[in-house]
């Protein structure tokens, strides 16, 4: 069939078109801040995004190139009355070229991303600061423990919460990540932070955000039937005093020893 190449071409155009369109879609797959937008709200997130875009451009160029070659070849050498098939044994030079080129690209990407990876994941890169909290994944919630007024974790004045992460914008925050039963994965999509929580290990994780607002924390590991329930609220406070005020309120609630007016009944 003479017109098969057109079908291949249409599929390729559709694929490229949907890539080009996707940033303008409300469900853009790189979640960002409360106001939307294309980039992450954290400095680490933006470095990951730029790596992502770089890889997307490289693979996009290769994809478009190979599709053009494919369509051209199928069109040019299509079956026609009277045309005789030719057999040939391939080209060693071509084989070597199309092995070396992708290998070189891979090596380039591997070397190029190394610094980013080291800055995000190496223990030695962890900021030397007071931890914001100790977060333990358990089936099926994130148990959070913030150092209380004494600034020391695991003392009687700690603030203990579930599924409620708070930190201050524009400031590095460090947490200690643990798991008490199975492997969970601490995932802040808007910040591009994802780290497995492994039973028996205490893993430092650090992040920042430059936009105040509400985000989400999820578990990115299929950790059991209640996996989808491991969702947390993330609040990025505009200033340290905002954060301290929230902390004060939460501690007051934790230390509550009187009956307050009963909350809103019904709806």
């Amino acid at each position: 069939m003479r017109y098969w190449p057109l079908l291949f071409a249409a599929a390729a155009v559709f694929a490229v078109g949907s890539f080009v369109y996707s940033p303008f879609d409300p469900d853009w797959w790189l979640p960002a801040g409360p106001e939307g937008g294309l980039t992450s709200v954290s400095s680490i997130g933006r470095r990951i995004d730029s790596l992502y875009i770089l890889i997307l451009v490289i693979t996009g160029v290769v994809f478009i190139g190979t599709q053009i070659a494919l369509v051209w070849a199928t069109w040019r050498f299509a079956d026609a009355p009277g045309r005789v098939a030719q057999y040939f044994h391939g080209s060693q030079r071509l084989e070597v070229i199309w092995t070396i080129v992708p290998a070189a690209i891979l090596v380039f990407i591997a070397l190029y991303q190394m610094g980013t990876w080291a800055d995000i994941k190496f223990r030695s890169s962890a900021p030397k600061i007071q931890p914001l909290a100790e977060i333990t994944g358990r089936q099926f919630q994130w148990v959070m423990r913030y150092p209380g007024p004494d600034g020391v974790l695991n003392t009687g004045d700690d603030l203990q919460l579930v599924n409620d992460l708070h930190f201050v914008k524009g400031k590095q925050s460090l947490i200690y990540l643990k798991a008490s039963d199975v492997i969970h994965s601490f995932f802040l999509p808007a910040l591009r932070i994802k780290q497995d929580a492994v039973p028996g290990l205490t893993i430092p994780v650090w992040f920042d955000a430059d936009t105040q607002g509400k985000y989400e924390l999820v578990c990115a590991e299929l950790c059991g039937w209640g996996h989808y329930k491991m969702r947390g609220n993330v609040t990025v406070h505009g200033s340290q005093s905002d954060f301290d005020e929230w902390m004060g309120r939460a501690l007051n609630e934790q230390n509550r020893d009187t009956v307050a007016a009963v909350g809103p009944q019904g709806r």
Binding site: Q130, Q139, F140, Q141, V143, V152, L153, N154, T155, G156, Q160, V162, N163, D164, E216, L217, W225, G226, K229, M230, R231, G232, N233, E253, Q254, N255, R256, D257, T258, V259, V262, G263, Q265, G266, R267
Partner: protein, 457 residues
Amino acid sequence: MTSRFRLVVVVGSLTLAGCGDSFHAGPIGYTENAQLGIDLKDKPKLQAAVTRAMANLYGPTPQQIKVPAGSGLPDGGVHLTNLIQQGEGDRTEVRPIALPRVDEASGQYMASKSTGKLLGEPQEGGYALYRKHCLHCHGVDGAGNGPTASFLFPRPRDYRKGLFKFTSTPTGAKPTREDLRKTLKYGLHGTSMPAFEALMSNRQTEQVIDYLLFLSMRGETELGLIAEAGVADEETADEAISDTVAVEIAQSVFAKWKAADSQVVTPETPRPPSTPESIARGRELFLGLNKTGNKVECAGCHGAQGRGNGPSFIDEATFTQVVFRGDPSGMPTRVEALTDKQKELWKASVDEWGDPLRPANLTRGVYKGGRRPLDLYWRLAKGINGAKMPAHLGLIKPDQIWDLVNFVLALPYDPTLLKGATLPGTPAAVPAAAPAHAASPTTSPAPAEDPRVAVRR
């Protein structure tokens, strides 16, 4: 028909089959309380009368929910399903509920920016939300027997008794809506009940509470009807379980729920500061050493070191053997294999639902009913409904309850508090030096014993 065409038809219809509703199980239905068959074994007419009364009161299936008048549920319970019936007779129309969207922050209705019309928000309704988030543990009728229930310890709550463990109201009374809201939003630490705050909006939370109240009231009414039928005569079944009787029983259940809000227990005295003296007094009470004649002896169940291994409960090794070694359904067999003395202890160590209990290990700082001093006050003052933790208010004074609260809150962070302590009447485990050290809990712990050192930076 060519064979290739047939193949396309077969493969195509198989593929499309996955897209339809065809693979869904049939409609979900309530099951009858097993007690119905036990208490009314040879009385088929009375059984039928109870079943009929239940269907009349609450609807025959969850899809045909009826909420009897006077239930106290908001809006008469119309939000329990996501459907609402409008109009009468031939013009009756059943359609999905859509409520105006409310901005959670300001509490204002939200309107469309272009047309100015109020934005509608489709409602899932309590039943749909319950089915999504709760049913797999708590079961269709709230019997705590959903498909995942057997894998959990402790087992999920069976709502049908209308009994809830962690409340702010007196022993045996119903929980307030706020109690249930707290459990739903923040979960029960130390159990499999997760926190739902980040999963549901405030409005959805209220809808789930509505539905669980509905199930609870329904279950308790059913138990009431079975009890009523138990003393009735088979020959006059229809008169004994008449509509009037059924409504009366339901109304008495509703009345108990409505009373809850006015029953919240307020601590009679303010909490004293957590001083070493207050903690030491709490320690004495805990160990039963207090000489004022007020015997509480928490250590009998919670153990002299607070590890949840006191002599009043079956020992931990046997407990683990029975509960966790093997298929949960084999538990009765494993209980049978115990010695007579152990069996006796075992029988005393189950809750109102027949599920095995374990006293809390207080050194871990995990409190199922909440960790606020107020929550601990409630646990100590009024106990835990349906479990072995008794109410202590009356046995000891409110001040002493606060001393115990201060002690319990301090214990996880100061392991020296109960070091070497023994139960009264038993020989000291460690002679001389250790009890003396334990008797002065205020002395600062040696650095090597301090668990905080490891994380201090």
